[in-house]
């Protein structure tokens, strides 16, 4: 696990399609995030870079994850982990991305 460092890490984040179009960006964005690198720190940095994403991944105010979104890293579901839990070193090192994924929900669409 990475300890505190003055050098920010380059964190790769994969966005779902509709947030890419909203933010007018590509599938993957790279964010400078200071240690400790957590879901909260990554989302803070993401929302600073792309303010139009505020409220679309986590609620305004409470910062609770929106119910139909999930966070994955290193093939594990981080959605129910504390947002302050340090992410795996491979994410911190930029080897693996943090994935923000919309729940698969077909069914009732028009």
């Amino acid at each position: 696990m990475s300890g505190p460092s003055s050098e920010p890490c380059s964190i790769r984040v994969i966005l779902p399609y509709h947030l890419r179009t909203l933010a007018k960006t590509g599938e993957e964005v790279v964010l400078a995030v200071s240690s400790p690198v957590t879901v909260r720190a990554v989302l803070d940095a993401l929302e600073v870079r792309y303010p139009m994403l505020c409220g679309t991944i986590r609620e305004h105010g409470t910062h609770q994850r929106r119910p139909f979104l999930r966070f994955f890293a290193c093939e594990e579901d981080w959605s129910h982990e504390s947002p302050d839990a340090p992410l795996p070193e491979t994410v911190t090192a930029g080897t693996e991305p943090l994935l923000i994924i919309g729940a698969i929900a077909g069914g009732a669409g028009y």
Binding site: H18, I57, Y110
Partner: protein, 371 residues
Amino acid sequence: MSKVRVLVGTHKGAFILSSDGKRKQWEVNGPLFAGWELYHLKGSPVDPNRLYASQTSGWFGQTIQRSDDGGANWTPAGNKFTYEGVTGTHQWYDGTPHPWEFKRVWHLEPSLTDPDVVYAGVEDAALFRSTDAGATWEELAGLRCHGTGSHWQPGAGGMGLHTIILDPSNPQRIYIAISAAGAFRTDDGGKSWKPINKGLVSPFMPNPTAEVGHCVHHVAIHPSRPDVLFMQKHWDVMRSDNAGESWQEVSGNLPTDFGFAIDVHAHEPETLYVVPIKSDSEHFPLEGKLRVYRSRAGGNEWEPLTNGLPQENCYVNVLRDAMSVDSLDECGIYFGTTGGQVYASPDAGDTWAPIVRHLPAVLSVEVQTLP
């Protein structure tokens, strides 16, 4: 020559339909915001190139979009809708208290005088206002917190504030309507509100003539007579001649008085349009015939308008915000269906033709008449 621009919100994006004053040939642009629900788009009466759009998603929540060039380019605006003060509760479907929760913006109403001022009607029912072109939003909490708020209850589609009418003759007066709380009016710019539901009768309610609880579907006015209101209620078409102080039924000879949309001719304040729907259990036209009904007498006497509309096997719905009129010399009438058609009549309803036939389900239609 004048032009018209039709702003169409659908379940899967927005479309902009443009034509000259003849309204025969149409250019279709879209989908904008493809894959998102566009509950409503509307242009500023002061600056027609300033458009606002409500973009929502079950996954990603609410976004407001703004255009300053008539819809060619869009910029996300503010999407933080926070209820003022102690949120409190309204009634849930089973009558138990339920906390107010923001879900989406149903309707955007730009100011009549300032393109940077816009009102938003939201679910759970509340009215918000932005004075900075949608960047930030402030609740006009006097509506939700007035005495009856804790008794409001959602309709089947949610507890949405879907109608906002700004009185062109009195900037302090605003009318709004909520499903299923009823209609309300402020005379002090939104600080205080009163229910205006006297004369409405809703047999499904424990007290059919209660002060609040009526499922008002839509309200329309003519700008020259803002004290005269026309309402399509869950059942019943209603009229008020005193700014909502009292209502009279004007369903008259309609084949069914259930429906959602209602609008008024741009130049004839006593000419109204509704689209009768079979019932609250069967949301489609009677007998599979899509008919707009027009009254030239302010209600009670209605004539079916069918020329160019499907008269067999048509089982679409026309939702509350999906009808609009232009203000060209010969008034144009427009409506969209849940089957994805947008119909236009360039002659006040005498003849109709589809502009488009295969859009996603249409949620809203607004028309801009451009120089």
